[in-house]
């Protein structure tokens, strides 16, 4: 038996409180399994989000004992006998109970132009990219947009205009992709007071990231571009086509 203490928020009454539930533990039970158990057996009004149950879709992020984590990838037995507290992610408006609104996260993501910019329509061969060139950005591309990093970031909590670790890591992903021909367009966007320069390198984003993206490091790398001058980037030409 484990006691889950869960944050509740009812937008129709604008009331917030904690509720406790006793969960009989099964072998290998995850926090998400426990939430589903509550929903199906104890209290159908408990509201949370999830989809893939496999750590791939990024929708089940919550805070467990104060730490951002994916509910489907966290085993309940890791917390021992005591009480476990579940709360919605920070830095987002709460919609209901454990469900938060990611709209702002995706707006900031969109603002860094996260797509390949290149004007070569009608080409029917692949752009060449060696395994090493690919290595430069592929880890950043494994981001599942769960927004845990955004919740963990203390800077976001004091500066709502700060682009945040998720968007900046994705800016880096496209800056480093040798198939893109406009890295400078993106650099202009992040070279602001609310862009990379606002990051204080506290590193909690990287600490909670379930996919090892390491946004804190990537942000420092972007800063380095500016410090080492932009010459390197100008020298970079877009990837050739397969001949």
């Amino acid at each position: 038996m484990v006691k889950l203490r869960i944050f509740r928020f009812d937008p129709s009454k604008w009331s917030q409180y904690y509720m406790e539930y006793d969960i009989p533990i099964r072998e290998n039970m995850t926090i998400l399994d426990a939430l589903l158990y509550i929903k199906e057996e104890l209290d159908p009004s408990l509201t949370f989000r999830y989809a893939c149950k496999a750590g791939l879709c990024g929708s089940c992020g919550i805070k467990v004992n104060g730490r951002e984590t994916l509910a489907c990838q966290t085993r309940i037995e890791w917390f021992g006998e005591g009480k476990v507290t579940l709360e919605p992610l920070s830095n987002y408006p709460i919609i209901r109970d454990l469900v938060v609104d990611h709209e702002e996260l995706f707006k900031k993501h969109a603002s860094v132009k996260p797509y390949i910019i290149r004007n070569e329509e009608g080409v029917d061969k692949e752009y060449l990219q060696t395994p090493n060139e690919r290595e430069e950005f592929v880890q950043a591309a494994t981001c599942i947009n769960c927004g845990l990093c955004y919740s963990a970031c203390p800077t976001v909590s004091i500066d709502r205009r700060f682009l945040g670790p998720h968007a900046l890591a994705q800016a880096y992903r496209y800056i480093m992709d040798n198939r893109d021909s406009e890295p400078s367009a993106r650099l202009t966007i992040v070279d602001t007071l609310h862009g990379v320069w606002r990051c204080h390198f506290i590193g909690s984003c990287s600490h909670v990231c379930p996919k090892g993206v390491d946004p804190a490091l990537l942000i420092q790398r972007v800063k380095r571009f500016f410090i080492l001058s932009e010459r390197r980037l100008k020298r970079r030409r877009p990837a050739p086509l397969k001949s």
Binding site: D10, P11, S12, N28, T30, K39, E40, E41, D43, P44, S45, T47, F48, R49, Y50, A51, C52, K53, A54, G55, L56, C57, G58, S59, Q73, R75, I95, R96, V99, D101, H102, A110, P114, Y115, I116, R118, E120, V123, D124, K125, E126, Y127, L128, Q129, T130, P131, E133, R134, F137, V138, A141, T142, I144, N145, Y174, D177, R179, A239, P240, K242
Partner: protein
């Protein structure tokens, strides 16, 4: 209640839906307004979990013809061959397009695309992939590409409830805005259904929990027939007990299947291809091993066999199968480099779906379907691994082009809010509002989750890998009882804001309809073909059954009819692997 206008709404933000949106945006000269609707967010779509890869004849030595032949044979000759030929012709181009749009495909040292033999039934190593997270990267690149267009909008947290037809054309749709709990009516000129599969009808499934087949019911209810609903694919290697997918790439990289006697038993069923035979064959073989007492058993009497990857070595597992390792480690504390993985067949893919032609058109003007929700049919009775993602991009593209064409020719100009909403749309919104009010105001009754569990048990037992008339008939009568029980079920949550119990109830209603349609279609097909195996008719019967099942809505209940399979070059032969 609220009314809005878009030229086209795409219901579903998976690979098929996003690809269609991009094609419409790129092909319409006039600036049409496009909305992509999804239950959560496109980046949470089921497509992100797709693992192994996407197929296309891109290499010397391979050809679209060979790809077509593999697909047709794999599909046990139920594929429409003209459709398959077009599909395999277009596949390579689409894969290159994805590359241009940012997908970081695995590369050779010289920078060109890398291929791999990863999936059963393909006679050439034609899978293009990114580790075992291919779907994630494709969805991401397509979604991000959509951000380039300011006329593509995303309607996230919306649940499509019904489509409105006036005259012979679609005219609008009604959806529930989940966040606010209100009904929205959207007037449209065209709709694309791309809502994916229905795996959640089964308990043991590899699918995301969003996959409840809603799109099929949307179409069915307005008179569009569903095709080949008896063909449900089971993936051979679902993790025991959860059912999560252990990607076919694990066998593609050289994994073995082992029974309780320590034998590599696939040599009995597919001497040549063994573990790399098509999925229907491998799934059935595992079930036979379990039924004949050569399997293992969990505490809950769930039979299983073992997938052994130990001989592949830690490096291959870490590099190529990192997701497999992550899953088994987090869920079972099991390291595939040290221990074999317990597996059994798990519901995976729906070969059947909305009856569409080679352009993804339905019989209703202005309504298209693409992706897993549609049945063209290119997968026939059994889909080959990696062909689904190809289908999503190829048909997303074809449908997008056709929609763009339609919107340009249709003559109507897109004049947003000034277009009067039709009375039928208003009426539909009112009906849906009443329905929701009624559901929310119920005070007691049986839990919807209890009914859902009963449905799962029925489907897992009677409508799964091995079927018989008797079992299917039992299933049908039980499903009908569940439909009855559902009308009095209780949600336990009367709140309008983000009510997931309400969503689950609407989904369950759809699932109960589809369960019935699958079962009826299966009872009537007296043969075994591909994924549909009837213990009482264990042989394929081309004389009587080389045809597609269609199932129609009628007031008196579902009605069946049959249409021929389109054969062009390849004549049915015995399937040996």
């Amino acid at each position: 209640m609220e009314k809005i206008y878009y030229d086209v709404v795409i219901i579903g933000g998976g690979i098929a839906g996003l690809r269609a949106a991009l094609e419409i945006a790129a092909n319409c000269k006039s600036k049409v307004s496009i909305a992509v609707m999804s239950k959560y967010h496109p980046l949470r779509s089921h497509s992100v979990v797709a693992g192994g890869g996407i197929s296309g004849a891109l290499w010397v030595g391979d050809s679209p013809e060979l790809h077509a032949w593999d697909t047709i044979k794999g599909g046990d000759f139920l594929c429409d061959q003209d459709a398959v030929e077009m599909f395999t012709q277009l596949a390579p181009k689409e894969i290159i397009k994805l590359e241009h749009w940012g997908v970081p495909w695995e590369r050779n040292k010289d920078g060109t695309l890398q291929n791999a033999q990863r999936m059963g039934g393909h006679s050439f190593p034609r899978a293009v992939f990114v580790g075992d997270r291919t779907g994630h990267f494709i969805v991401q690149s397509l979604y991000e590409r959509c951000l380039m267009y300011d006329n593509i909008e995303f309607l996230n947290d919306h649940f499509a409830m019904s489509i409105v037809v006036s005259g012979d054309k679609v005219n609008g749709l009604t959806a529930l805005d989940i966040k606010r709990g209100i009904i929205v009516g959207i007037k449209v000129r065209a709709i694309v259904i791309a809502t994916g599969g229905l795996g959640r009808i089964y308990r043991t499934t590899t699918n995301e929990d969003q996959n409840t087949g809603d799109g099929m019911v949307l179409a069915y209810k307005i008179g569009v027939p569903l095709k080949d609903m008896e063909f449900v694919q089971f993936h051979p290697t679902g993790l025991v007990p959860h059912g999560y997918l252990i990607t076919e790439a694990a066998r593609g990289e050289g994994g073995y299947l082992i029974n309780a006697k320590g034998e590599r038993f696939m040599k009995r069923y597919a001497p040549e291809r063994q573990e790399l035979a098509p999925r229907d064959i491998v799934s059935r073989s595992i079930m036979f091993e379990i039924m004949e007492g050569r399997g293992f058993e969990t505490q809950d009497k769930l039979g299983y066999v073992l997938l052994d990857l130990r001989h592949l070595g830690e490096d291959v597992i870490n590099e190529r199968l990192s997701n497999v390792k992550e899953t088994t480690m987090t869920l079972l504390d099991l390291d595939p480099a040290k221990d074999p993985i317990p597996v059994r067949p798990s519901e995976h893919y729906m070969m059947g779906g909305i009856h569409v032609d080679n352009h993804g058109r339905t019989c209703v003007k202005g309504l298209w379907a693409a992706g897993e929700v549609a049945c063209v049919s290119i997968h026939g009775a059994n889909r080959l691994g990696t062909n689904a993602l190809t289908e999503c991009v190829v048909y997303g593209m074809l449908v997008g082009r056709d929609v763009a064409d339609y919107l340009e020719k249709d003559g109507q100009t897109s004049t947003s809010a000034s277009t009067p909403a039709s009375d039928t749309l208003k009426e539909d919104m009112d009906n849906n509002e009443d329905k929701i009010l009624e559901l929310l105001s119920r005070k007691d009754g049986e839990s919807i989750y209890k009914i859902r569990r009963s449905l799962w048990a029925i489907m897992d037992e009677y409508v799964s890998v091995i079927r018989s008339r008797e079992g299917l008939e039992t299933a049908l009568s039980k499903i009908k009882q569940l439909q009855e029980r559902f009308t009095k079920a209780y949600l336990g949550d009367g709140n309008r804001y983000y009510n997931t119990s309400l969503i689950n109830a609407l989904e369950l209603e759809n699932m109960l309809i589809l369960a019935e349609l699958i079962t009826i279609s299966a009872i009537n097909r007296n043969e075994s073909r591909g994924a549909h195996y009837r213990a009482d008719f264990p042989k394929r019967d081309d004389v009587n059954w080389l045809k597609h099942t269609l199932i129609f809505y009628s007031k008196e209940g579902p009605k069946l009819s049959y249409i021929p399979v389109r054969i062009t070059r390849w004549h049915p032969t015995e399937r040996k692997y």
